[in-house]
Subunit: 107 residues, 2 copies
């Protein structure tokens, strides 16, 4: 069946306060993050191109030295190998889309 509830995707707490639910299509990975208020995603980078967005709540994101508090209706484009990280201002639900697939998020 093509239809899936995102809270039934395979899940894992990747770092403290960040529970990931992931979908892999062969050419991209979608990650639905349930994040606890105050939880910190340390600065990091990877080869994958990433589009980040907030589906619910508020998340303060830093990309390549620029910082913005994101709310639904905003997205951030994170090029390959670009430093980024952030902190959840509230409990929030985030969606990250990556190409190519993230093999490290296959659980």
């Amino acid at each position: 069946m093509p239809f899936i509830k995102t809270d039934q995707l395979p899940g894992k707490t990747v770092i403290e306060g960040y529970e990931a639910r992931t979908l892999h299509t062969g050419s991209m990975t979608l990650v639905y993050w349930s994040v606890q208020a105050g939880a910190v995603m340390p600065m990091h980078n990877h080869i994958h191109v990433q589009v980040a967005q907030v589906l619910q709540g508020q998340f303060m994101l830093t990309v390549n030295g620029a910082t913005q508090t994101m709310v639904p209706g905003q997205i951030a484009v994170i090029p390959s190998n670009t430093k980024h990280g952030g902190v959840a201002i509230t409990d929030c639900l985030l969606l990250d889309v990556f190409t190519p697939e993230r093999d490290d998020y296959k659980f």
Copy 2:
């Protein structure tokens, strides 16, 4: 700047009742659709792999003969060259993610 409001992305009414706002990353295309209640997306297919979701509202989607009324929290995975189409039950905001890029949605 990496941060973008989705309602400021390039937009076009692709078919009646379907306004698209698009982002292209080189390896994928994201389309934010503002859809009017009752508007019909005729059955069609394309080479691109697509992940469809409803951000707001309700949308009845048919994929390869299976039909479901989608609400936020559900996604549909549409493989390459698979027939799909639908109708908006309410005004809704949809997000489709495609790989590879959709050149026909560059406006």
